[in-house]
């Protein structure tokens, strides 16, 4: 059904989901860093459409809250690979993935889709738990996942560093969007 947009205009209402920052990869950087994140929202939402220069089909996707490379993280994963549903866990590691992305061995033009949610990110009395979903279909293979990750820190999240396996560069065309989610009276 064709839908004409001729009569539409931008709404004057201000919604709960507020764009904070947006970055596109140039192909020469292995990390995307959102820093000085405003502390005025209730939640954060990261939306990524990404591909790594690593010569594998699906490398893993990482987020480091506050660029913290020393605190030991853990996660619980549920994923499917087209054949099996699998659950796994990682503990005691400073680098715990939030999902999978596409790699250089995947067909050109294929990117992975990942969303990460941090609720209560600015709270300074609770640990930070993120919930993430990633989707990657490679036309005959691929992984889709749902993960929960614990960063056992009560620090407010003020920056997020996004990288992939072995710190390979993000491929040109990769996009990273960070949103704040306002609640009542914010």
């Amino acid at each position: 059904m064709p839908v004409s947009l001729a009569s539409t205009s931008a709404s004057s209402m201000h919604g709960a989901v507020v764009p904070i920052a947006y970055a596109t990869a140039s192909g020469s950087s292995s990390s995307i860093i959102f820093s000085s994140i405003p502390q005025v929202y209730q939640d954060l939402m990261l939306v990524c459409y990404s591909r790594s220069a690593q010569a594998v089909t699906q490398p893993q996707f990482y987020c480091f809250e506050n660029s913290d490379f020393t605190t030991l993280r853990s996660n619980t994963i549920l994923y499917g690979n087209g054949t099996s549903a699998i659950s796994a866990r990682n503990t005691g590691s400073t680098a715990i993935p939030s999902g999978w992305t596409a790699g250089a061995s995947a067909t050109s033009g294929i990117f992975g889709s990942t969303e990460v949610y941090w609720l209560n990110y600015s709270n300074t009395s609770t640990y930070k738990t993120s919930l993430s979903r990633s989707a990657g279909d490679l036309n005959g293979s691929g992984i889709t996942s749902l993960q929960v990750k614990l960063w056992p820190s009560t620090s407010a999240i003020t920056s997020i560093l996004i990288s992939n396996d072995a710190n390979n560069n993000w491929s040109t065309g990769s996009t990273f969007a960070l949103y704040g989610v306002r609640t009542v009276n914010q």
Partner: protein, 181 residues
Amino acid sequence: MSMFPIASQLGNGSSSDIAFTNIPQTFTHLQLRMFHRSTGSNSGAFQFMYFNGIYTSPYNQYAWHRLYGDGSSAVATGAASTSRIEFSYPYGQPYSSDTAGIFGVTIVDILDYTNTNKNKTVKILNGADKNGSGSVSLTSGMIQSTTAAITQIDILDAYGAYAIGSRFDLYGITTSSTTGA
């Protein structure tokens, strides 16, 4: 699509029931975002959800099914003709014996909640990682006994109260009448 905050509630350490009542009927969809922990002493501190106060005899008005991972197994389970929608089982909500400061996270989507011709199906993403235990899950729940618009949502901690620090934020989502976006 635009999302707007409707209401927020906080866990107080003594109440097991979080109720959003008189939900405005002016949005197209609802989203509930939960940051939660139980004061209970049961490691399976799961939760229930029900609508419009319908937790009544004959206690068979809901159905749900769930896919979850507990770190070692991926499991599919469900129930039909049951009293409420169950979610965050088995370990998707930290409880009193878990390390202080760890909370679970849940995002619930309720589509077309004002429609009076459709049974309402909800999608529930939940997870809690407790450094060596925990689970992550995707649950579908449905009220089968009525197609009434949803005007009230109750969230219930099955084994305790919602701990201080828990919070529950309800949002309305609008669409464009022209584009449906």
